[in-house]
Amino acid sequence: MMVIRPICQNDLKSLYRLAEKTGIGFTSLVSDEAILQKKIDGAVRSFNKENVTKPHNEDYLMVLEDTTTGDIVGTCGILATVGLDEPFYSYHLGTITHASRELGVHNAIPTLILNNDFTGFSEICTLFLEEDYRHSKNGQLLSKARFMFMAQFPERFTDKVFAEMRGVSDENGISPLWESLGRHFFSIDFKEADELTSQGNKQFIAELMPNNPVYVNLLPQEARDVLGQVHKNTVPARRLLEQEGFRYENYVDIFDGGPSLEARVQDIRAVRDSRLCLANIGQPKGIREGKGEGMSEGNYYLVSNAKVKDFRCILIQRSIPPGSAMTLTQEEADCLCIINKEPVRIVELSPYSR
């Protein structure tokens, strides 16, 4: 069974192994044991906090565990707030209009405006799934388990959350936006800038980036074309978030122009439609005993428990829609760390599965 759970101290080696596989451009996981250990410490501290009434500096890093092998095969995370320790930068794609009635000319010119508008907002981040496990809706489980956590503990997050999506770059890691804009101001290469940023070192952005708006119409076509566009490998992830109600609101990454997607927590489909019900441990109807994994029928449901420190989320299939109670197998209940009659939160895996 595939289970989402908070990362724990024993996961360092596995996390390091995953970090090695992420590659350039994935700045939130770098293969450096000290940094990863710090990240684990932060996550453990965050999940251990009780009585949180508003978001602070928590970092809820979770992992996807294959219970049959005990392997960690993916990560996903939520930062309670960004930008409070180090400034968080983005470009806002705005509009400046220049019009002359006398000449009959009217130009609405897009501009990039450097800002820290996301300061203090919650961010969903650090989504990574090992290549061998990119099937059986594991990607969806990994991404959406976070919404189950947010639905259960909204006081730990801001009303609005966002996600940064990787922008366009070619096989050699060349980003068209960086080449025509960032490069002129940084005198270092994209990779170096990206690494500095990932280490939380952002002062140099304030020091080196132009603080006046940049006229987009003066950028080369190839740079204009990538504003708000995601890397081709990120297209499915973007679609997934958009189906959940996330929207591109004209904020892009200052380096590669990748879009930020945002949503109000209460408007996220998986949050809005999720509901609490009681777990009945027993034999679910429509599932024959002994039927192998991956051979079930019916709709997919995300099921999570209602615990912070021992948060768990799994994906199940049921042919009969659950009512006020949810019948779970003993294995499922074990994976969810619950006993009979404990509350669980459920939601249809995707908006189309109802």
């Binding site: 002359s100 000319v105 501009t111 025509s180 101001f185 002062q203 006229y215």
Partner: protein, 337 residues
């Protein structure tokens, strides 16, 4: 021989011909008969007005080939630009972005739209027939204006500037315009250039970028054109640079041609010009060529001729006196060529 004098209505056809030759990039001299006629009218009014301090006067001069009384060139002075609508330039300023931690210290040139030349006198539109683009004629025509300024300092500001035509090819293509202005005007350089000559300049404020343009983000061809003088204007540029004009980082907003400026009192012609009596030489002068002017305002005339400075004044040939319409003993103003 050559003579410089104020323009007259009769000069309109000649001016029109010169304007057509001038080509694109000399925005204050459009090949438009009505506008040229307005310019002549305005110039005549300016010469006739009693001026206490500089205002919207505009003085136009023509270069006459006295051998056939043909108009072969023209030039002018605006007493003050930016009176009704602001006068726009780009100022090239360096923006410093430094990160001590990364040991990076970038000085990034940026173009700032400004009005810094508003309220300043401007030398305009030096245009000379190809056949007469010799050093003598060019120098006479250009420096005649400085003699006029020396004579009537109250009509001009202490600071003076001239716009030098920027790079564009014979089809009117400007790499700088193409990279910058075009995106904001959505028209070609030729048209914008023409409009800027004939219309009020509100549309510049309306359409031009309000935020600085970082030079390194422009295409290279555009970067290279900044502050570069059009090859056809090299000669007139050199005359002004020799006079003491300097480039202070201001360029034209359309073609990035440089503006050069000076304090009037530091210009060679103005510092060295002398005023005294005209004397008469009985033989042919063996003296050096001088620029010599005479006459008041509308009758202001300048010519270039050999002459001999003496204690009591400047000795001229009889023919030179005639060209200037003066006789011996009249006050004249001169400077060595």
């Amino acid at each position: 021989m050559y003579l410089v004098r104020p323009v007259d209505f009769a000069d309109l056809p000649a001016l029109e011909r010169l304007a057509q030759q001038a080509g694109i990039g000399i925005t204050n001299f459009p090949a438009n008969r009505e506008r040229l006629n307005d310019k002549i009218a305005s110039s005549r009014r300016s010469f006739q007005t009693d001026v206490v301090q500089p205002g919207d006067e505009s003085y136009l001069f023509v270069l006459v080939d006295t051998s056939n009384e043909q108009i072969v060139g023209c030039c002018g002075i605006d007493a003050m630009v930016g009176v009704d609508t602001p006068f726009y330039s780009y100022r090239i300023d360096e923006v410093v972005h430094a990160s001590p931690q990364l040991q990076i210290h970038n000085r990034i040139p940026a173009l700032f739209l400004c009005h810094d030349y508003s309220g300043t006198s401007r030398l305009i539109a030096l245009v000379v027939d190809k056949a007469h683009q010799n050093p003598l004629a060019m120098s006479l025509l250009s420096r005649a204006r400085l003699l006029f300024i020396a004579r009537y300092p109250e009509r001009f500001t202490k600071r003076l500037f001239a716009e030098l035509r920027g790079e564009s090819d014979k089809h009117g293509y400007s790499a700088f315009w193409d990279a910058l202005g075009k995106h904001f005007f959505t028209m070609d350089f030729k048209k914008a250039d023409y409009l800027s000559g004939v219309s009020n300049k509100n549309f510049i404020a309306e359409l031009m970028p309000r935020y600085p343009i970082y030079v390194p983000t422009l295409p290279e061809a555009a970067q290279e054109a900044i502050g570069v003088v059009h090859e056809n204007s090299g000669q007139s540029a050199d005359i002004l640079l020799d006079e003491g004009f300097e480039f202070r980082g201001y360029v034209d907003i359309f073609d990035a041609g440089p503006s050069i400026e000076a304090r009037t009192e530091s210009l060679h012609t103005i510092t060295n010009q002398k005023t005294d009596k005209a004397l008469t030489l009985t033989e042919i002068s063996k003296g050096a060529i001088h620029l010599i002017s005479a006459g008041h305002l509308e009758n202001f005339r300048v010519t270039a001729a050999p002459a001999e400075p003496q204690v009591a004044g400047l000795a001229l040939e009889k023919s030179t006196q005639e060209r200037l319409g003066i006789s011996s003993g009249k006050r004249i103003q001169w400077v060595a060529l």
